[in-house]
């Protein structure tokens, strides 16, 4: 068999490398990507003993299981009652659903003047092409302000539960941040390098177009939060802290919520007192339109992105 290329020449070609990768004799990622084999799980005997001791103490001293008949019988009953309760509730609700008006039928009570005005005059009155956004941010703006505060107070509670002091955070940082994953994952970093800018831009697009197309502050904010989480996973919290640390988080979150509150209060109080509202509605379909919806969408977006990232960071390492 004649050859046009010598072995030495052939080994430099792309085809040789490709077929070698295909047959599995050589992995191009070996020695370039960090790969640590998973360590065998070895239980820490001291700690196990301590945990066992603690559980025993709790059982004996707090609940006094040997003498506490109420708890003993309670344990037995608990599972049975829980299952019976859930099944009964599910059956009750299913039974009720069969009596509710048919979905989509014309004479449902929900097809009334409320929905009619939202759909028919929504665009005219709020300036938003997207009726849903117009409804939640203009007609029922107070509910949505409350809903945003639910997110805010949820982060406060997670902070109470999981936030560590700064000295503790620094000393345990390496342990908490990367326990099982490789430190610099080339694949993840490569993907994040490409994806992060796209995700951020898409998030901003969704937020800014909330009044025109499906989307808005809540969905756009969660997209941006996902982008932040991806960045932090790929490039570590140290790099994320260069542009998003606790201070930035606080300033962004408080500014967004205060702005939302101020715009909202202006809207509620002028509306209630019959004072003319000086926020122009603009032309439906344009980016700068729909009165208070766009600024509120931006505020909600910032708040939601901050909340998403804060949840991730707090659960991951106990600090922002």
């Amino acid at each position: 068999m004649s050859r046009r290329k010598t072995d030495a020449e052939y080994s430099k070609t792309f085809a040789f490398k490709f077929f070698r990768w295909l047959s599995g004799t050589k992995d191009p990622y070996v020695n370039t990507v960090e790969m640590t084999p998973q360590k065998e799980y070895k239980p820490d005997k001291e700690r196990m003993k301590w945990l066992e001791f603690e559980e025993k103490e709790a059982k004996e001293k707090v609940y006094d299981l040997d003498n506490n008949r109420v708890i003993k019988s309670y344990e037995k009953m608990y599972h049975a009652v829980a299952v019976i309760f859930c099944v009964a509730l599910a059956l009750l609700l299913l039974y009720t659903v069969s009596y509710l008006p048919r979905y989509g039928s014309e004479d449902r009570p929900t097809n009334n003047e409320v929905a009619e005005r939202y759909i028919e005059q929504g665009m005219e009155e709020t300036g938003a092409v997207n009726v849903v956004t117009g409804m939640i941010l203009t007609y029922r703006a107070f509910d949505t302000f409350g809903e945003t505060n639910v997110l805010f107070i949820a982060t406060c509670c997670v902070m109470i539960m999981l936030m560590l002091e700064e000295s503790v955070l620094e000393s345990t940082e390496i342990f908490n941040e990367r326990r099982y994953e490789p430190k610099n994952d080339r694949i993840l970093q490569g993907a994040a390098y490409v994806l992060c800018p796209v995700i951020f831009i898409f998030g901003i697009y969704v937020i800014l177009n909330g009044q025109i197309s499906p989307g808005g502050g809540f969905s756009g904010g969660s997209i941006m939060g996902a982008g932040l989480i991806l960045y932090a996973t790929a490039f570590s919290f140290k790099n994320t802290e260069r542009f998003f640390n606790e201070k930035v988080y606080k300033v962004a979150k408080i500014t967004a919520l205060i702005m939302y509150g101020l715009i909202g209060s202006y809207f509620y109080i002028t509306g209630a007192n019959g004072i003319a509202n000086h926020i122009p509605l603009g032309i439906p379909g344009h980016i700068l339109s729909a009165g208070i919806i766009l600024p509120i969408d931006i505020c909600v977006g910032i708040e939601v992105a901050c909340t998403m990232y804060a949840f991730y960071a707090l659960f991951r390492r106990g600090g922002l």
């Binding site: 009720t96 097809n111 703006a141 505060n149 107070i153 936030m163 509306g271 209630a272």
Partner: protein, 497 residues
């Protein structure tokens, strides 16, 4: 339009703003913001109450440019304004009473979050009072639930974490039921605005095809709110949550958070379902029986308890039972007595919690009965406060508790077959109350020879004394000026529906 009509909305928004700003402040600054906020909101609500008394009817405040079935609205009358004012006053006193103790119980770097939770809790309570929209109520129930969880677990030890988890599970079950109830209500009436739902309910029942969904809605809403306000069989979360959290949290949770839900139930009975439709459903008898059971079993649990804070917590179960008994009577008088008991219990239970912390502090921080012997001599004001609270709960004339027991007894006389059980259980419960409260009062005034207990915390704090005196005055005012308050409640209920 009068400027005062803006006050309810402004007070809700101010609480939210204060919460948001406090999250960026240090603990002490957040405390100042909270103190200023409480004062302003109390004044605003007082003005609103004065205005509504003069107005004699309700007024509607549109939140935004769009009127009610499309937008959100608040509806303010005497009932809402007086409840909101009461919430503000009790919260102000409870926070002030536990302020010195807070430093020991909450980590410094989380102190500001405590005030964030308090501010938002107040905003949610006010919103629950004033809103006329069922879904707005649900949103603020969520805020209320999360804030209450945070208030329980901010004192970080194993007990409070367990209590918070238990509270969260039970409370979320309640929230879920309320949400499902609201969904079914919306499906059969097509409205979320309370007054419009009521019309829709009448229409839905006229056709006859929606009888079962209406019944299920009533059940889900009532049971959901009963779980959240710790009615007897659903009270498992209560003793730990009230017994181990910080003193202000315990006072606020027992006297305000559960009352906010009960007030919402009153609103649902009168304004959403309609009083007659609600009374025709059998669920009202269930609430009546659970209320009666709570009155007895809560008290017997309290008698068995060896820990003063947990004893007061179990006593709450009994008192919540009284309120539900009032609802279960299904008459105007029963409802009046129930609402009066909300005031009584709110003013008394927070006094008892605040006084109990003074007693335990002069007994080396121990809460066991044997240790607090003679504590009334070591901390005079706490002793007096506890005695007044106990007398009021037992139902001694001159204090608020006597009037609510009297009102319950009067209300039960006009009932048919429910009269006898109500009166008997009321009597038994009063005796049981007397057993465990008088036992404690005698215990704290039993002289001991060696009072070698070290004092922890805040003996003779001036603010603490002022708070105890204010609570005592509040109790006496509720007890002495009861005619006026009962008139106010009647007047409120007339325009409440």
């Amino acid at each position: 339009m009068d400027v005062i009509r803006n006050f309810p909305a402004v007070s809700i928004l101010m609480c939210i703003f204060a919460g948001i700003i406090s999250s960026g402040l240090k603990g002490k600054a957040a405390r100042k913001v909270n103190a200023v906020l409480m004062c302003i909101v109390t004044v605003l609500n007082l003005a609103t109450l004065m205005y509504t008394i003069e107005l004699k009817t309700y007024f509607v405040y549109v939140m935004g440019m769009f009127p009610a079935p499309w937008g959100n609205e608040l509806r303010v009358s005497v009932m809402e304004a007086s409840m909101a004012l009461f919430f503000c006053i009790v919260m102000m006193l409870s926070v002030a009473g536990g302020i010195k103790k807070l430093g020991d119980e909450v980590a410094d770097d989380k102190l500001h979050l405590y005030y964030v939770l308090m501010d938002l809790l107040l905003s949610s309570l006010l919103a629950l009072c004033y809103t006329n929209d069922l879904f707005t109520a649900y949103v603020f129930i969520e805020i209320n639930t999360i804030a209450a969880c945070g208030l329980i677990m901010i004192r970080q030890n194993g007990r409070t974490i367990e209590a918070a988890v238990r509270y969260m599970v039970m409370s979320l079950l309640g929230s879920g039921m309320i949400l499902l109830g609201i969904c079914i209500t919306y499906d059969i009436t097509g409205h979320l605005l309370m007054s419009n739902i009521k019309e829709g309910m009448v229409r839905a029942l006229e056709g006859g095809e929606y009888a079962i969904p209406v019944l299920v809605t009533i059940t889900l809403l009532s049971v959901g709110l009963a779980i959240k306000s710790a009615l007897f069989p659903f009270h498992a979360w209560l003793p730990d949550a009230y017994g181990y959290s910080t003193v202000s949290s315990a006072a606020v949770l027992s006297s305000l958070v559960s009352k906010g839900y009960i007030f919402l139930l009153f609103k649902i009975i009168y304004r959403v379902i309609g009083f007659d439709i609600y009374c025709d459903s059998r669920i009202i008898d269930v609430l009546f029986i659970f209320g009666l059971m709570g009155m007895i079993f809560g008290s017997t649990s309290a008698i068995r308890e060896n820990d003063i804070r947990r004893m007061i917590a179990y006593s709450s179960v009994a008192q919540i039972g009284y309120i539900y008994m009032g609802i279960g009577m299904g008459t105007e008088f029963g409802m009046t007595a129930g609402i009066f008991h909300i005031f009584t219990h709110g003013a008394t239970k927070s006094l008892l919690f605040i006084a109990a912390i003074g007693l335990t502090d002069v007994s080396g921080g121990s809460r066991k009965f044997i240790e607090i012997t003679g504590a009334g001599y070591r901390h005079k004001w706490a002793g007096i406060g506890f005695t007044v609270g106990a007398l009021s709960m037992v139902g001694i004339p001159l204090f608020a508790g006597f009037i609510s027991k009297l009102l319950f007894a009067e209300a039960s006389l006009s009932l048919g077959y429910k009269a006898l059980p109500a009166l008997i259980v009321l009597g038994i419960s009063t005796i049981l109350n007397a057993i465990y409260f008088m036992k404690t009062v005698i215990r704290i005034y039993t002289p001991v020879e060696n009072s070698g207990y070290e004092t922890v915390g805040f003996k003779n704090g001036r603010l603490y004394t002022v708070v105890i005196i204010a609570f005592i005055v509040l109790n006496v005012v509720l007890g002495v000026a009861s005619d006026r308050i009962v008139d106010l409640i009647h007047m409120g209920l007339a325009v409440f529906a």
